[in-house]
């Protein structure tokens, strides 16, 4: 396949009707779930769909990193008060759960936007996540240096 026909193939995938061109077992077009995503617009460029999936996976890894730090902080750090240790641990794990749920929600919103060729929605969690990391880091640093009592 040469490059021009490759380009046409990608365009053809993008212009495919909602639900896909393949008929289901009963001869009807198969409806994909979630309907709130796939019932809107047309099939986007597969590169965008895959990039959206990788972004979701990056959110999952961020979530897992939050959880790992929270678990390790609670279990293996002795130099901070027990109350702070538990608070930071629970806070980081809860932040991880929020990350993964938000990541999936963002995947749906992004996929829907891609199918409708509209701008991608802005992320609210990304700046909040940064602020939470700064606050937690400051609390731990103050505790370790004894400034916060």
């Amino acid at each position: 396949m040469n490059r021009t026909s490759d380009h046409e193939a990608v365009d053809a995938v993008r212009d495919a009707p909602p639900g896909g061109p393949d008929p289901g077992r009963a001869g009807r077009p198969a409806r994909r779930r979630p309907h709130s995503v796939y019932d809107a617009g047309s099939e986007p460029d597969p590169r965008f769909t895959l990039a959206n999936e990788r972004t979701y996976l990056a959110w999952v890894r961020t979530s897992l990193a939050c959880m790992a730090v929270g678990i390790a902080f609670d279990a293996f750090v002795d130099d901070v008060p027990a109350a702070l240790r538990t608070t930071v641990g629970i806070g980081l794990v809860a932040l991880g759960i929020a990350c993964v749920v938000s990541g999936y929600r963002r995947w749906m919103l992004n996929e829907r936007a891609l199918r409708q060729s509209t701008p991608l929605p802005a992320s609210l969690l990304a700046p909040l996540l940064g602020a939470a990391f700064v606050l937690i880091g400051l609390a731990v640093a103050l505790s370790l240096t004894g400034i916060g009592g």
Binding site: M1, R3, T4, D6, H7, A9, V10, A12, V13, A16, G19, G20, P21, D22, R32, R33, P34, V37, E43, D45, P46, R47, T49, L50, A51, E53, R54, Y56, L57, A58, V60, R61, S63, L64, A65, M67, A68, G70, I71, A72, D74, A75, F76, D78, T86, G89, I90, V93, A94, G96, I97, V100, V101, G103, Y104, W107, E111
Partner: protein, 119 residues
């Protein structure tokens, strides 16, 4: 370089699209390994009674999660050339549920307090 060659270089091609499933597959692998690391940490931190449960559950879910990216990669590549829609998001939803369950187990372990011998 001729104008045709320049246009060919600028045009998005199926070759470029075909490189993306591989990157996505590797991304799935990294995520599965990260989940495995968190589960091991949970076993280490959870200590005594919860360790076998977390370990058994982790082994049950990690196996499919390590095999799934390869299957999904082959299905995605198979969809590109005949211009079919890409595979659906069921694994994404499954991974979300799995991660939330892992987080919930971590919350239980932290809230239950640090067991003896977890250091």
């Amino acid at each position: 370089m001729t104008c045709r060659a320049i246009r060919a270089r600028q045009a998005p091609s199926l070759w470029e699209a075909a490189a993306q499933p591989e990157r996505t597959c590797l991304s799935w692998h990294r995520t599965a390994v990260a989940l495995g690391a968190v589960l091991l940490l949970l076993v280490r931190a959870g200590g005594g009674a919860l360790a076998p449960i977390v370990l058994a559950t982790g082994m049950l879910v990690l196996g499919p999660l390590l095999v799934l990216p390869g299957v999904r990669y082959r299905r995605t590549v198979a969809c590109l050339a005949p211009q079919r829609p890409l595979p659906g998001p069921t694994p994404l939803l499954g991974l979300t549920v799995l991660t939330v369950l892992t987080g919930s187990a971590a919350l239980v372990i932290i809230a239950a307090g640090q067991p003896d011998g977890a250091q």
